[in-house]
Symmetry: C2
């Protein structure tokens, strides 16, 4: 049995065909240009395989409510030619298989829950810190959806004393994303994060703000594990600093053995690495096929 998976990102679409054992049989990468080009290539790719279902983890904002007539529609993205474009309808007009769509970060959280660092846990928070900041959450097998979908990257953070950086978020200035994203670090320091020395003072700020945000997510969602992916998280040296900031802010308030010690089992790297999104889309495809047989 073959399943289709699409990781629909802002710069590229990764499309793959997988079997029941999560083996990737074929994979292609398509630039995210206009919908006609990118989706045309996408459909062309999948047309060659007899897939039974398809899963999509996409950039957003996007309508992920299966009961809505607009299910699968990209919403007010800055990518103007994708606004109001419906991914599901476009694909179904050509390849009529069951499709489930979710956010890229919900998909990544799902892959870690099903086949990564969250296996055996009841809930997983997956946060990506890179060009943007976003997070997905899975509890008891279900991704978190609601009025729209979570936009956890934009929570307000308390700035450290002495930090007068005004942030880069067009909507909130110095919200979490506005302070810790790749572009924020670049604007603050005049060079990209990967070119900064490990002892640069900016890492103290970044680690504190990430620790604060994770404290908020723990207080609100109570996840069993927190996984951090994305470009900024490549800076391994900040993980102990993040865990320390988390502990400092939480100050022992939530008590659980997992929160004792150095937090190295609670705040961690994802296991599926760069594949988290694509594997998540694959998990959505498995779900779509299962649902269609009910």
């Amino acid at each position: 049995m073959l399943y289709g998976a699409i990781e629909a990102g802002g710069t590229k679409f990764v499309c793959a065909v997988l079997d029941e054992k999560a083996n990737i049989l074929e994979k292609t990468i398509i630039d995210t240009l206009n919908p006609d080009y990118t989706m045309g290539k996408t459909v062309e790719f999948f047309r060659n395989y007899d897939i039974v279902s398809l899963g999509i983890g996409t950039f957003g904002p996007v309508n992920i409510d299966p009961e809505s007539p607009e299910y699968g529609t990209i919403l007010n993205t800055p990518k103007l030619n994708w606004r109001n474009f419906n991914l599901i309808k476009y694909i179904k007009s050509d390849i009529n298989v069951p499709i489930i769509i979710d956010t890229d970060v919900n998909a990544a959280a799902l892959s870690e829950y099903k086949m990564g660092a969250g296996k055996g846990k009841k809930s997983v928070l997956y946060i990506t810190i890179g060009t943007g900041v976003g997070a997905g959450f899975v509890s008891e097998g279900k991704t978190l959806k609601g009025l729209t979908h979570p936009e956890m990257g934009h929570i307000l953070i308390r700035k450290m004393e002495g930090d007068d950086f005004e942030g880069v978020c067009p909507s909130h200035g110095n919200c979490f994303e506005g302070l810790v994203s790749g572009p924020a670090i670049e604007k603050r320091c005049g060079k990209k994060a990967q070119f900064l020395p490990e002892n640069h003072e900016v890492w103290g700020y970044i680690a504190d703000y990430i620790g604060q945000a994770l404290m908020t997510y723990t207080l609100v969602l109570s996840p069993e594990i927190i996984l951090i992916g994305g470009g900024v998280s490549q800076q391994e040296h900040i993980f102990p600093m993040i865990r320390e900031a988390f502990k400092k802010h939480m100050n022992g308030y939530v008590q659980h053995r997992v929160l004792d010690g150095d937090l190295s089992q609670y705040i961690r790297y994802p296991e599926n690495g760069q594949m988290a999104g694509l594997y998540g889309a694959y998990q959505l495809a498995l779900q779509a096929h299962e649902d269609s047989n009910k």
Copy 2:
């Protein structure tokens, strides 16, 4: 069929017997003293009725994981004689019916979801602002649980310029609860909230901080409706101020028709009022009975 419901609060236990139509047939109030007294009286009350199941919405922190051997145990509460006391085991040794226990705020959220302002919504956030600040969340019929349970009242808030109040939270000083709870208002102003005039400057701070917290909850959980109960929320005049603060901080980032306009349908009073907790316990009892018949 008769169902038992307990709203286990820090100052009193409200116990009731209800029928299938949520009619309260009998009700009693017991002071929260030591477990022997309070639980003795509780069991004595229910012994007179042939209840098929029991639901408990309780103060915390508490173990609400049905798969844990410590399910039903009160954890590190400041009420020392309740620490490590297991409510379920105590009751079951006398009245052996299926029992479900959850936090008081999760129970309240569930009652609003099933039979209140959240009826027909997919998810409900219920927040209480009074002596303490807590929130419960229900999505697709399930209350949010995790590593422990949410402790949403303790998220960090950004203080307004000019506000030098240090807060009253023993763990975090000026976290959300430390700034907006009843005791915080009393300490700041020298008198209880209900005796302050509507034009007191403190309400500007309180409304801003509540608006900030609700923005965070919306970004993290994306609830379809937010209900505010508890003593401080009796100050009706702050609701428009809270909605305005929410809009100011959110700055249009999450787009949905429910978030347009004056937010009077999004940020609201609970419908079950003072009964939210007890009705929530009743819903847990219905669930316990249903589960036992599976």
